[in-house]
Point group: C2
Chain length 410, copies 2
């Protein structure tokens, strides 16, 4: 049986309270937080005392006097510490340093040499990047989160399988711990993007959502009742390699007819090639081609519009499958493909999904584009570090013990 302890609930409530403060953007009162979370005023008060004690929240004074008691205004204390988010992508590593209000303070980007992608090479780049990023603030860093492509085992910090560099069972956290003294948190970009949306995007409004990442690779993250759904080996959400077309296009994974082969950036470029083999929109860089398709569609280019239409037809069928299987409240589309083809692609997708999905769950779902202002992979990686800090038994355990002591001492 899955065990759920009082500590789980406490941590979950702590996350909920803090998510409400982040969502308020600026400041919030205990009353507003209780309303936003649905938690009792007593629980909210309790969690806030804890968060004030550890310095995560600060009181900004009271709201303007009027009818009723004045309300203490609470805000995140940006100076409490810093978080690092690292997006490890195929061609470059991207590093962001956030204050605790999740505002980017500094960024660093380091290209990856395609000839030097052994674990030791990448570990050296990560160490260098974090060094440059945190130089002046090394003692303020509460934790480092890394978005690592492929299949990740987050508890041990192992890259189980990385599709770009053909890594198998690389103990990445262990290798990094020899160079870095920060707490480390690893997971893949789908999970990172989903954590970012859960804390700072659509997850502010709903508890059940699916985050669809559309870049070269595609995949989903599923949030159930406010929690990231991982599956038994943390590989839930491998939607990119579910079958869309029986005996269809060969996918780069070697299987036939995968979703990714149709709605990932290279798949969309392939659709364009099939329609117009010598189209001037085609560039060696798929990202440039996707941007060119978007620009051409804006000009009314028939081929570009047909590419978007076909892609939306594929996407709509498989999104309908997600609606039928998961019955979520919201599906958010983000990353490269959504950034460029966004509104047009979503229109077709929605129309096709409406035809293929069951009536009732489709009526319950909203399909929308991501509104996150930042690279969701690095923001999400930093969110792992934030969650790790907030779940830290040393920080919060000692606080709880101290508070218990205080209460029990006359």
């Amino acid at each position: 049986m899955y065990q759920l302890t009082a500590r789980d609930i406490r941590r979950r409530n702590r996350f909920g309270v803090l998510q409400a403060v982040y969502a308020a953007v600026g400041h919030s009162s205990r009353q507003e937080i209780a309303r936003a979370t649905g938690l009792s005023f007593a629980t909210v008060g309790n969690m806030i005392s804890e968060l004030l004690d550890v310095g995560v929240l600060v009181e900004l004074g009271y709201d303007a006097p009027g009818i009723g008691r004045p309300r203490a205004q609470l805000a995140i204390n940006p100076e409490r510490g810093m978080l690092v988010g690292v997006d490890i992508a195929e061609t470059a590593l991207h590093f962001d340093l956030f204050d605790l209000a999740m505002t980017v303070q500094r960024s660093v980007e380091i290209p990856v040499d395609p000839a030097a992608t052994e674990p030791a090479d990448v570990v050296a780049l990560i160490t260098r990047g974090i060094g440059e990023l945190t130089a002046a603030d090394a003692d303020k860093v509460l934790g480092v989160g890394l978005s690592v492509p492929g299949l990740v085992e987050p508890v041990g910090g192992v890259s189980v399988f990385s599709p770009y560099w053909h890594w198998h069972d690389v103990p990445l956290a262990q290798l990094l711990e020899q160079q870095l003294s920060y707490p480390l948190y690893l997971d893949n970009p789908l999970k990172a993007s989903t954590a970012a949306h859960l804390w700072f995007g659509a997850g502010r409004d709903v508890d059940d959502l699916i985050v669809v990442t559309l870049r070269a690779g595609v995949g989903i993250g599923v949030v159930v009742e406010g929690m990231l759904y991982r599956g038994v080996t943390n590989s839930a959400g491998e939607w990119g390699h579910t079958n869309l077309v029986l005996d269809g296009r060969e996918c780069r994974c070697g299987r036939m007819g995968c979703v990714e082969a149709y709605v990932g950036a290279p798949g969309i470029v392939r659709t364009l090639r099939e329609l117009a083999p010598s189209s001037p929109l085609i560039d060696a860089d798929d990202a440039v081609t996707i941007a060119a398709i978007a620009a051409a569609a804006d000009r009314g280019d028939a081929v570009a519009l047909e590419v978007i239409d076909k892609t939306g037809n594929y996407l709509g069928v498989t999104v309908a499958n997600l609606v039928n299987l998961f019955n979520p409240r919201t599906i958010v589309f983000g990353d490269l493909v959504a950034d460029h083809l966004g509104a047009r692609l979503l229109d077709v997708t929605r129309r096709v999904a409406a035809r293929h999905a069951m009536t009732d769950p489709f009526a319950a779902v909203t399909l929308q584009l991501s509104t996150l202002p930042h690279n969701p992979a690095s923001l999400g990686a930093a969110t792992f570090a934030l969650e790790g800090f907030l779940a830290d038994r040393e920080t919060f355990g000692s606080i709880a013990a101290r508070r218990a002591l205080r209460t029990s001492t006359p």
Copy 2:
């Protein structure tokens, strides 16, 4: 934010302890229950006191003396009350009366007149069936569970949509409450079958499983961390109408290429007709045809074997999609099609799924046939009533209050 209260945990632990006692089949000790659930000995002791107080458990005495303290043996008290499970199917209503050990005490079956399927007609049949079933034991019934086809809103007891009889928003619980005074619990056969497997089947061993129901209609139930996953409008698991073949066969839902059109009983019969239009295996009753295919395959009949092979190829692809999306520990196949074509169909399905699923989640999953000894829909419906009784705030709230009073009174 999703609220999780101390009462939720308490109820969940209570379910867990009782599931362990049912799984032990016969009797069990506090020590064995603590081991099986992973709960602390204190929590187990606490839950068992509660369950003894309300008479759900009984102590049978102590195990044979040996090394260590003797252990009190606990068992379900079958006489504590009775539960009714009703399976509402297209052609007949099936009623089972269970004691609290979930042993069938009596059964009733009433055919449905195809010309009389208005809500009032079916309500009259249900009332009649329950009356016949419980005549001698009316005062012992703790609750009635109903498995209602289609989309069900369980909290209000509404049949939102029933595919057989074209019901829309029928307030079934409300209509039945005018005739019956028992607590009523409604959900659909997928959810019922999943609840049955969670308590009495594969769910005894794993916390993350998918139950695949294969009869005329097909669908799945998903169990995540020991809890039935419902989605935001209780329609999660509508796998039968996910798309398997783009622009494929017309499904009886009106869409094209649905999973159900290939692996549901009528879909399999259609595959047979396509291969051998005048096959002697074909009967007007699909269930008879499926049985005939199974018997012919046992004789080595080439057409029958090809039907199973094709069906397994379809099933394997879509099961691989479930493995990739949900990353479960176990997938159980049950009901009509699995009962007849079971082992042969599962062999092909497993082989094809291995080819289509991602390597790691496929390595983590076991595909198996259901071993439940009983109609999973009526057993599952009775399980809803069992869960309802165990979650009853009156029964357990008053117990908790009484216990608190007892402890606090000097």
